[in-house]
Symmetry: C2
Subunit: 468 residues, 2 copies
Amino acid sequence: MPKNTSKPWNGDMIKMDIRVRKIYEALFALEDLRELFRQALPAGLDEHEEAQFSSEIARLETIVQELKEGKGNPIKHIGAGLELRTREEEFININPIQAGGRLTPEARKALIAYGDGYSVCDQCLVGRLDKIRKPPVEEFHAELADFVGMDEVRVVPGARRGFQAVTASLIEKGDLVIVSDLAHYTEFLAVEIAGGVIKEVPSGSNHIVTGDAVAETIERAKEETGKLPKLVMIEHVDYSFGNVHDVEGVGKVAKDYDIPFLYNGAYAVGMMPVNGKNIGADFVVGSGHKGMASVAPSGILATTDEWAPKVFRSSQIVGDVTGRRFENKEPAMLGCTLMGGTVLSMMASFPHVKERVKRWDAEVKKSNYFVREFLRIEGNKISSECPRKHTLSKVDTRDSFDRIAKTHKRRGYFLSDELKRKGIVGEFAGSTRVWKLNTYGLSWDRIKYLSETFIEIAGKYELPVKRK
Amino acid sequence: MPKNTSKPWNGDMIKMDIRVRKIYEALFALEDLRELFRQALPAGLDEHEEAQFSSEIARLETIVQELKEGKGNPIKHIGAGLELRTREEEFININPIQAGGRLTPEARKALIAYGDGYSVCDQCLVGRLDKIRKPPVEEFHAELADFVGMDEVRVVPGARRGFQAVTASLIEKGDLVIVSDLAHYTEFLAVEIAGGVIKEVPSGSNHIVTGDAVAETIERAKEETGKLPKLVMIEHVDYSFGNVHDVEGVGKVAKDYDIPFLYNGAYAVGMMPVNGKNIGADFVVGSGHKGMASVAPSGILATTDEWAPKVFRSSQIVGDVTGRRFENKEPAMLGCTLMGGTVLSMMASFPHVKERVKRWDAEVKKSNYFVREFLRIEGNKISSECPRKHTLSKVDTRDSFDRIAKTHKRRGYFLSDELKRKGIVGEFAGSTRVWKLNTYGLSWDRIKYLSETFIEIAGKYELPVKRK
């Protein structure tokens, strides 16, 4: 990575802006200042501490001056052996899984204030995370349930922990669970840990899961085993193609068979409008770090009044000597779930997230703009459904960029090199064959820049590009 | 809370230092500047963005000037309806559960850089969090296992998820699990969710769990049910008294009966030296947000080469249509666990944590100093074992401060009021009877200030105080 703005890395590489590094340096200097107060007496700094304060302030002033002027040496490390991470500031990041989890400025600020371990528990009065009123965790839960069109919700350490809470509550050893052939591995693991048996729904040649296919799989399972599945677990958007599946159709079929339906809303909740009851879902699971601009691991599990007493049931276990009970605690949640920075990041991003789902159409439009431009490069293909209904797309460059890779001295790394040179990262380095990218949250300017960069690279390597 | 330094709240209240609020304000202004670059093209800011940059820089300069001079108006909010949290900077925080989870400056810096959702996955090559080399997650795991004297370790979303992974792997419905009568509720829930049955070990009148008591409980369970327990789960330090229990004795007994022993190291791992194998533990569970200066939810589950294949076993489930397998994933972990800011905060604090456990004796010394001073106030009692072997203590003020509360117009809140007036928070507001506090990590200056403050309050209300 280029380390200085004084000259570019090489001829056609974009210049890195030193100011990004200076922002980090100033943030870190402020954290050092903050630590002074964390160690001091409440009455104020003593003489020695005041001297330290003055010297830290002088350092901060120098950094701010350099930031203003865009000069100075770039920092590279955080301390504790960790490198800086600057890919959201210095690059356009097209990583397929990271787009929806980028923090909002509000979340980053909340994290600064509430990073400490049990920071959310200052005013915990009844020993329940979802009942804390200050910060307004209880209010957040109420709004969150409404946001996904369900009755009750809990935050969980990642969507996978939502799946687990449901399978642990509904699945006995040997019970059948319907998932799609595009199901995320965490759905499989949640079934495995509960002792369930997977029955996969084929998504067919167009990689779209339909209600009919779910019905056929239920019938097949019934025929083979003589029993009905205990749970249908289908994703709205799959991780592989970013295709949008017929979850309303699945909801209807699940209702017909009277089988509870867990709607997997990773890549959907927090990115596109989702209404669980309209979909016919009994459970809505979403991911905080995949779709709600939140710190990992975070996510949500929402359900209906019908199912809440099952998955959010009270603890029943009793101490045989003490007679202790914990009826205020929910065993499927293991009590409190996200007791600090994670839940605060969700809460801080939430106002923005509520607004951004309303702009989903624009995101899809940008996704399709990119795809159209990308397809101008001959040999480029899109493996996902087209036109795109999502921003996560699987692309196939075996007949374009990979043909260059075959003879390039950097092999498959050449495309990553070229993209990075232009300030684009996030594709899997060395992968020029079939790979994934995500345009979610990129502005029109960034989308156009991204599209032009691919065309430019194709031009450089004399790959034919269709006229507009 | 006082809002300005220009004059104190009232006569004897300490002045708040406006500079703390100015540090937050500067941090937030820098996050706004950072966001500019997150939205811009990699090539650099455009004219409009440069104008915004200039105006944000001007704002930052003003804040830094105010910070330097200690003047200006204090900010109170983060945005998104959230209030600032300043209790670690403006107060001495004696909250019983928060002390070990306060972030180090390094963790706060890492969180600034790695807060975004899947930030740790930039260079994930094999789909396993614990194998990521950049940032050095793999190296961290190796050092972490060594740190607790075990063979293998995984990070988990809180100690409770470590308990759950073990009970899910070892306990069948109806199996007996030994816990103490001081066991944390999350141990109960982890047993409940696995379908196990609790057998409590009585800690006796001195509230100390011994190996002998565990042996007696195993014998009693065997007599009553005709079967041996499948797991012994005992805490090194309990959440109620902060007493230090005879875990080595428990380890020996567990070995004698050939029952696996889960050592609950919340309030121990990351605070005091812990060597799992010397203790005779088969599993060591620690909490990141309780003892390792980390963001919640975080924790560790460590084990031996003997047990690793059981709890860290590979996934065996297979898709019936696709034949998909996920042998690289661990079902008891549900695959990856802490994919961003949580694990980065653990890693960033780790060098400091490794050093601080060596200074445990000094922490205990400070705890005992405080207790001795506290006991000078007539009627004050310590419910925990004395001399203290830990920094978390249960105190009994029914015969001292609660006698004042009975006639005070603020009732039980008077003590919180008085403490807050002197810059001390973290006790449960309104609780003046039997309550808990934690002196962990407080400097000698802070310990002395804390002790003197209690004496001073006693004096104000004419409670007799013994001479030194």
